[in-house]
């Protein structure tokens, strides 16, 4: 019988994407398959490359903000926030307290919207169609709120150097508070559909495990890192804006499987709702923007101010040579670093698991291809 071990089966390549419903954008995975089992995977990226880092070298600082919308288009606020924080750090500008609160409210609402999309598409990846529409129902309400203040529903271009673009209206505060109250019950609804569903458990428990040491070695951040059991969150560890004044938990997993990544994100949604609630109740009166010269010329130097986006650490590394345009901009995007572990994780799993595992990575191709 030992001889049978040498028997070979045919291996073949399957090109998953760039046009595929479950790669969440124009990601192409070149899978090496033995039957249904994946023996190797190479992600092929770059279909959405726009050269943002180079473009930024020819733009004034304020002109770069709209480009940051188009990085992680599911949570534009985080990209906005990270960039303006970096510029403020470089130029030594302090925004007024009301602006700081507004920024946190917006960023956390955007985190909710982003996680809702993730939850919806992830359940869709597993073949459960109904949670997708439930999630989009709540996301619509958040987008309505954003539209009320920023005028747009996806790319907000809302943060400004030294503040935000527009003040919150009384209507917004009332609606947002009502939404947060309602949202707590909605999360319970999603969990009722998925968390203990035996098929869902079978598809996610112990699937695609990322060990803590591997997660660190590959430089993962955000929910993917926390699901592996490492509690690290920029909001708590390197607080910016007003996060040090708020009380919230950093949920973490234990195993690092797909289910943990799901659970971490769902619990994060509850925490974000808590943060928004606190920030709304503590919102101070005052100005929402400080005066900043139109042609901002930060002193020569460099700065980096990481922000915890829904996907992990997003950071802009800015080098200024004292002119009105940055000398160099380097963007550290969480999806890019998180995706790098994929070929390590999906080896040995089935084609169907590739979709589930990739779903829990929550990548946004706008971020990966910049």
């Amino acid at each position: 019988m030992n001889d049978l071990k040498n028997l070979k089966t045919e291996e073949y390549f399957l090109s998953m994407g760039p046009q595929h419903p479950s790669t969440h954008g124009v990601l192409r995975l070149i899978l090496k398959l033995d039957g249904e089992i994946v023996t190797g995977a190479t992600p092929d990226i770059g279909y959405l490359h726009r050269g943002l880092e180079k473009i930024a070298e020819n733009r004034a600082y304020i002109q770069i903000i709209p480009f940051t919308d188009r990085l992680d288009y599911l949570s534009s606020m985080s990209g906005n926030l990270a960039f303006v924080l970096t510029v403020e750090k470089l130029a030594g500008i302090a925004p007024p307290p009301r602006a700081e609160y507004i920024r946190v409210i917006m960023a956390e609402l955007n985190r909710l919207a982003s996680h809702l999309i993730w939850l919806g598409t992830f359940s869709l990846d597993l073949g459960a169609v109904t949670p997708f529409l439930y999630c989009f129902r709540e996301r619509e309400k958040i987008l309505d709120l954003f539209e009320m203040i920023t005028g747009s529903r996806l790319t907000y271009n809302y943060m400004r150097i030294g503040g935000v673009a527009a003040d919150l209206s009384a209507q917004f505060i009332k609606d947002a508070a009502a939404f947060i109250q309602d949202f707590k019950f909605r999360v319970a609804e999603y969990e009722a559909l998925l968390t203990q569903n035996p098929i869902f458990l079978a598809r996610t428990k112990n699937v695609g495990i990322i060990k803590a040491d591997k997660a660190i070695a590959y430089g993962l951040t955000g929910p993917m890192l926390r699901a592996s059991g490492i509690s690290r969150d920029n909001r708590r560890d390197f607080p910016y804006a007003i996060y040090d004044k708020l009380s919230f938990d950093i949920p973490a997993g234990t195993v690092g499987d797909c289910w943990d990544r799901y659970a971490v994100r769902v619990r994060e949604m509850r925490e974000s709702a808590k943060i928004v609630e606190q920030a709304l109740s503590g919102l101070p009166e005052g100005n929402f923007k400080t005066k900043v010269p139109l042609s901002l010329k930060p002193p020569a130097g460099e700065s980096y101010a990481p922000v915890e986006s829904p996907r992990g650490e997003i950071g802009f590394y800015l080098v200024s040579n004292g002119t009105a345009k940055p000398y160099r901009l380097k963007i550290r995007t969480p999806s890019f670093c998180n995706l790098s572990i994929i070929s390590h994780v999906i080896k040995g799993w089935k084609v169907a698991d590739v979709v589930a595992i990739l779903g829990t990575f929550d990548v946004v191709l706008g971020e990966i291809d910049r």
Partner: protein, 96 residues
Amino acid sequence: MEIIVLSLILFGIGLFGALTRKNAIAILMAIELMLNAVNLNLAYFSHNLSNISGQVFVLFIIAAAAAEAVIGLAIIINLYREFHKIDVEEITLLKW
């Protein structure tokens, strides 16, 4: 009477296939044709003689054909894994 001739021709075609084909699966299919020819004969006699035994044996033969196909195909798949071909003329070793 026509059915006996029909099954005879069918058997002949199957035999021809089994003799000339090189691909192991094609040979297996030719053998299935021959088995079916035999079954047809049995069913005919069962009908003609109003004796159920013919049909019983057709059932047994179908079961045996299923077993034969399963084992045969398992062997063929193994051969393919080893040699990457299933031409019977090229697979001449009894032991590998």
